[in-house]
Structures are given as C-alpha cells and as structure tokens.
C-alpha cells in the first residue's frame, strides 16, 4: 500500500509542528511556505511572554522536528487544489503537482494594518509605532529612540487596536495584545528605568497561566501605569511628541497626556490569502473572516470539507503555546482520518 500524503499549507509554527508529528507518524508530508524560510511571525518576535524566552529558541526546538522526511517547499504557493473522490490534486506555484490524501491549512494571520485606525495617525505622526515595529527594533538589537533620536521618557501603549472595534469591522479579541503590552512595557523599563509608561486599556485580559503574574510584576517592580479608557484620538505636537486623549473612566473625566512614543497594540486579522484559499477548495469562512471550524468545542481542526483540516491562527487568534498544541491536535485528527480510526466516526449536534 502506498504511503499516505499530507500537504501542509503554511510554514509558520503550526505548519512546522504538525508536519513534524505527521512525518513521524509515517505519513509523507509536503510543507509549502511562501516566504524563503520557515517560521512565520515568530521570526519577528524577539522575546516571548510570559517567560521572556527568545522566540528563536522556540523555533529552533520546533524545527528539530522537521526531518528529511518532510518535503519543504519555500518561496512557493498553492496554485490550485481540486478534490476527486478521496484525493486532492495540488498544484504548486513552482509547477510541481502532488496527489494528497489530506490537506492541512496553517496559513496563520496578518497583523492589523494600523493605518486603518486613522485617528491614531500611524503612518502620519512620526512617533506612533506598532507593537510589531517595537519587536523589530528589539529583534534587530537596535536602540529604541524617537524618530528625532531622543530617548523616550514617556511612552503610551494603546490596547485593542483593530480588535473589539466595529469601526474597523473586527469585533473579536485578539487575545495576545494585552499581555504583549505588559511584556513590552517591562522591556522598555529594563532599558530606560526612568521612563514612565502608560497602558490605555478597556479590559486587561490576563487569561493565560502566568500572565497575571507578569502584569503584577509590571506594576510592582516596574511601576507601569494602567489607565482604563480607550484612546479616542491622538495628535502630533509641534515638537513631534504625541498628544493623546482618553477618558480616565475610573475618575469619569477626560484625560490628556503628551508622550514621546505611542505604541499601538495591533491585533490579528485573517490572512489576506484566507479568502483565496477558501475559494480554491470551497472552505467556509466564519463571521470574522477566519476559517470556520466544524464545531467550536470539539471539531476544532476539522473543516467543512472531508480531508481538509486546520491548525493555528487561521481559525482564530492564538498564543504560541496554543498554536503548538493546536498543531499537534491537528496531526492526531488527520492521522485518525487517514487511518480510519473508530474515533474519527464520532458525531455531535453542530452548534449553530
């Protein structure tokens, strides 16, 4: 009997980890990544919450699972997929064709384009940064300075940029931004102990293990300030500092403040190519534009098309920890599907 083949679309951490497990389970794996290197967004994150471990360490660990048994195609995209009976005919942009028995979609997410929140002036006011910009500065081992090369003494963090916001069409929570703001605040305090940092938030969602601990440390050890109010608008002053306007909802009064740097905590949005891939094979998108899983509680790696599976952030925003777990779950779900395990036949009344 021929070895069963799985095509994995997307070489971020979900694609890497799922490919690794699937290959060690004995399947032939084709991993397709459109960039020239595997790793996805994690390549751009220097230190990770809540441990402050380097992102590269996690990636190194995951890549140890990619043995020669995984056929990796970088700089490559899926041109077409068609299904005949139980098999998928997959054509890649490099001209190669595969017949696969299952497809795993791990296309991940895009960061929210902060320019859409016009009133925050990203791309207009020079000292408005995004959380991703900050991370790039850290990863490149550059010094964080204002665009006028001044040491920033007052820094503001704006939570929920592109998340929980009907104005931009994203009503969901991106999950990782709250704790990322806390992490980045601490990192700045470590570089500039005399700086003052203010986080503007609606709710602080410290749901993960140790997140609350990190939050408490930011307050107690580093003196980071938290102001409950969503940023309404900001503006560039004549000296290029940024004037922010927010309601301090706990005193019930409007509040203004000039900061040297304003950091926008950008959320997750469905990757641009999500729609394209959905159209290729007829996958369903959910209300928020991420791929729709068959069931919200149980069939979280299963799509509306038998043989097509999901892992990672292509179905919803997730932390790195959750993404890795999800990838492993997808691998075992695919294995039971391909090997016709009894467990694959379980049913549930699908949630509306």
């Amino acid at each position: 009997m021929n070895k069963k083949v799985v095509v994995v679309v997307g070489g971020g951490i979900a694609g890497i980890e799922a490919s690794a497990f699937l290959s060690y389970m004995g399947f032939e794996v084709v991993l397709v990544e459109k960039e020239n290197t595997l790793g996805g967004h994690v390549l751009n994150w220097e230190k990770l919450f809540p441990t402050m471990r380097y992102g590269s360490e996690v990636l190194d660990f995951l890549l140890q699972g990619i043995s020669p048994k995984v056929n990796v195609y970088t700089c490559c995209e899926v041109n077409s997929i068609s299904k005949k009976e139980h098999q998928f005919f997959v054509e890649l942009s490099n001209g190669e064709n595969f017949i696969s028995d299952a497809v795993l979609v791990t296309t991940g997410y895009d960061l929210f384009d902060a320019r859409i929140k016009e009133e925050y002036g990203y791309g207009i006011y020079e000292n408005v940064f995004t959380s991703a910009d900050l991370e790039m500065i850290f990863t490149a081992k550059k010094t964080l300075l204002t665009k006028q090369n001044k040491v920033p003494l007052k820094i503001g963090f704006v939570h929920c940029v592109g998340s929980r916001d009907e104005k931009v069409g994203n009503v969901y929570c991106s999950k990782v931004c709250c704790v990322t703001a806390v992490k980045q605040s601490i990192e700045i305090k470590q570089i500039y102990p005399d700086s003052e940092i203010y986080c503007f938030y609606m709710d602080l969602r410290m749901y993960g293990m140790h997140f609350e601990h990190l939050y408490k440390e930011a307050q107690e050890k580093y003196g980071v300030h938290f102001i409950r109010g969503r940023l309404s608008e900001c503006f560039e002053n004549v000296d290029k500092s940024i004037l922010v306007k927010v309601e301090d909802t706990l005193t019930g009064r409007p509040l203004k403040m000039n900061v040297d740097i304003l950091v926008l905590m950008v959320g997750f949005v469905p990757r641009k190519s999500t729609k394209k891939i959905a159209d290729l094979i007829g996958l369903e998108n959910g209300r928020n534009g991420f791929f729709k899983t068959k069931d919200q509680h149980t069939l979280t790696n299963v799509s509306n098309i038998p043989g097509v599976f999901f892992a990672g952030c292509c179905t919803s925003p997730k932390t790195i920890t959750n993404t890795i777990t999800d990838a492993r779950a997808a691998a075992s779900t695919i294995a039971s599907y391909l090997l016709h395990h009894e467990i694959d036949k379980r049913t549930i009344n699908l949630a509306p």
Binding site: G123, I124, E236
Partner: protein
C-alpha cells in the same frame, strides 16, 4: 508629519461632486453674518466658472438649529427637509447644494434614515402631502459649496490675481483650517478626505499657494454647541472651546483661519474679541488677532474682488494686515462706506485688539 499617510487617506475619501446645475439653498447663519460670502459663491460659480446655479425664494430654513437645540421634533425636521427637496424637484434640479454645514449634515442624516427605514420616508411623504400637497424626488447629489470649490480649486487658481504668499518674503502663508463638525464627523464617507483628515479646505489652501498647517486641536468643535451659544448663561462653554483651539494653534503662528461652517467663522472671530476683553489676551502678531475667513471670502480675495463687497469689514478682527501681507490692492477709505458710497461711521474701537484704521 508624514504627508504620504494623509494623501493615502485623502485618496480613499473622494466623493462625487457634480460639474454643473446646482440648486442652491441659503444658510440662516451665513446669510446673516456673511451675506457677502453667499453672494461671492454665486458670482464665482456663474461668472468665473460659467456654471448654472438656481435658487428659489420659496425655500426656508431646514430647522437645523432648532432641531439641534431640541425644540423641533425629528419628524418636523424631516418633513421640512422633504419640502425643500420638493421645491428642488419642482424646479427641475437634482444637485442639492445647501450653503450651511449643519444643514448638510442634517440632510445627510435624513437621507440615511430614509435609506435604512423606507417606512419612515413613506410616512414623511404622507406628512408633506397632507401639509403642502407637494411631492419630491431624492436628490441625485448632495454637496456642500465647499465641495464644489474644492472640485474647481484649480480652475479658481488659474483665474487668481493673488496667491496665499507673503509678498515680502515669498513664503507661503500659514493657514489653519477649521471644518464644521457636521461636515463629516457623522458620516465620514460624505466629506472629502473623511472625518479625521478632511482635505476639502486643505485642497483649496494648497491650490491657492498657501501652507496648510495641522495642529493638535484641529478636530475640536468651535464651541457653537447650539443651546450652548443661544442661551447667554451657557456661552462660557462656547468661548472656552474656541479658546482651546487658539491656544493649540498658537505655536504654529497662523496667518489665517479658513472655515467651511456657518457659525465657526463668526465664533472664531468674535471669541477672539471676547477673550481680549475678559483676559486681555490676544492672538496673532502685534495684537492683531488671527483673521478668520470663509472659503468664499478667500476665493474672492485671490480673484481680486473688493474686500468690502465680500464683507470683510463685518469681521471683528481686522483683515488689513493680512491683505497687505498678500499684496492685495484695496481702498482703505471705502471700508466704512455704505452702498451709495456714503460714510456710515466706524465701529467702536475695542480695548486690547489692534485696529488698523
């Protein structure tokens, strides 16, 4: 500030502005305080741009000020708006051009309401029929006169005799713009440039040679606030809002404030006087104050119209220092002459503001 970022947004918010055949509707506040501006608008549209513009004596207020000071029910306002549309329909026009920003915002609100709730439109049609036996068509286009000047800003520039430049230094003038709140804050897609970075006035400033400057309280309301100005004891709110704007624009040393709202130019002008009386504080160089113009006054000036026919003598802040800076030729002695060139006396001199003559 990174201009490319703004240009990207401007490109996103460009609305359709008709090229001709305008049905013009007066503004309560503008015709009272700036009759020369409405006159200049019609003159420029007809004589400089050669377009057709029509107005009927039968139109009235849209009731906007009454509606926004809460004495007029929404249903009444919608029916009055329907009557205005009926007059347009009867005149055979479909491009509705309300001179007032409060009206522009209100018409937009009413049209949006009808669009989303057709049963309300049907009810208002019944009301109108009952009250006036009139019927109406929804306008094909609703544009504000400032949209039209933005649309033709380059044509106006081609005919201009002056530009927004300091003739001594050759440097462009620093112009601050103030957009009426109801222009695009309620419906960002209805205003040129959107709600956060409207470019309807910036486009004119730049096309006419000036340097548009952006300052932190640009988006702040002038403080009209309807009932907050209408009732005397509330006017502290109104003056304080304007004051906030003046303080914020001060570091940029503006030569001029350009507005597209009916009330704003009057308030930004008068509150400078009030602040100078109450606090002894003045803005602009040498206690001159910062002149506040409507876009028609500015267009008229660069086209070489007589400043006293435009009505610049009706401003509390003297315009002469700016006219001199721009090298505009004018006759100072005609400022205080009436229609038949009779001398009509001068306004009383104020305590702290500079007066030119």
């Amino acid at each position: 500030m990174l201009e490319e970022g703004k240009k990207r947004i401007w490109a996103e918010y460009q609305k359709a502005v008709p090229d001709n055949n305008y049905y013009f509707v007066r503004s309560c506040i503008r015709q009272t305080f700036f009759p020369g501006s409405e006159q200049a608008f019609i003159r420029i549209i007809r004589n400089e741009l050669g377009k057709d513009i029509y107005e009927t004596p039968y139109h009235t207020t849209c009731t906007g000020i009454g509606y926004h000071s809460d004495i007029i029910p929404f249903e009444t306002t919608m029916t009055v708006v329907a009557r205005q549309f009926a007059l347009m329909t009867e005149a055979g026009y479909s491009n509705y051009i309300p001179s007032c920003i409060t009206s522009f915002g209100l018409y937009t609100e009413v049209l949006e309401t009808w669009h989303h709730f057709p049963e309300i439109e049907a009810h208002i049609r019944e009301n109108l029929w009952k009250a006036t036996k009139r019927e109406f068509k929804i306008p094909d286009n609703l544009s504000h006169p400032s949209d039209i000047f933005y649309h033709f800003r380059k044509n106006i520039a081609e005919k201009a005799k002056y530009s927004l430049v300091d003739i001594e230094s050759g440097q462009p003038l620093n112009v601050v713009e103030h957009i009426g709140c109801h222009y695009s804050k309620m419906f960002p897609g209805k205003g040129i440039g959107g709600a956060e970075y409207p470019c309807v006035l910036i486009g004119m400033i730049e096309a006419w040679g000036g340097n548009a400057i952006d300052y932190p309280e640009r988006r702040h309301c002038c403080g009209f606030g309807f009932r907050q100005y209408i009732v005397q004891s509330n006017r502290g709110y109104s003056v304080s809002c304007s004051r906030k704007k003046f303080e914020s624009m001060k570091p940029y040393q503006p030569d001029l404030i350009l507005t597209n709202c009916p009330g704003c130019p009057m308030f930004l002008d008068r509150w400078q006087y009030v602040i100078s009386e109450i606090e002894g504080k003045t803005y602009g160089k040498n206690n001159q104050g910062i002149p506040v113009f409507t876009y028609e006054e500015l267009a008229g000036l660069i086209l070489g119209y007589d400043p006293w026919e435009l009505g610049l003598q009706l401003h509390q802040i003297d315009c002469e220092p700016l006219l001199k800076k721009m090298g505009i030729k004018y006759n100072p002695s005609e400022k205080y002459l009436g229609y038949n060139r009779e001398y009509i006396g001068k306004p009383e001199i104020t305590k702290n503001l500079f007066h030119c003559c």
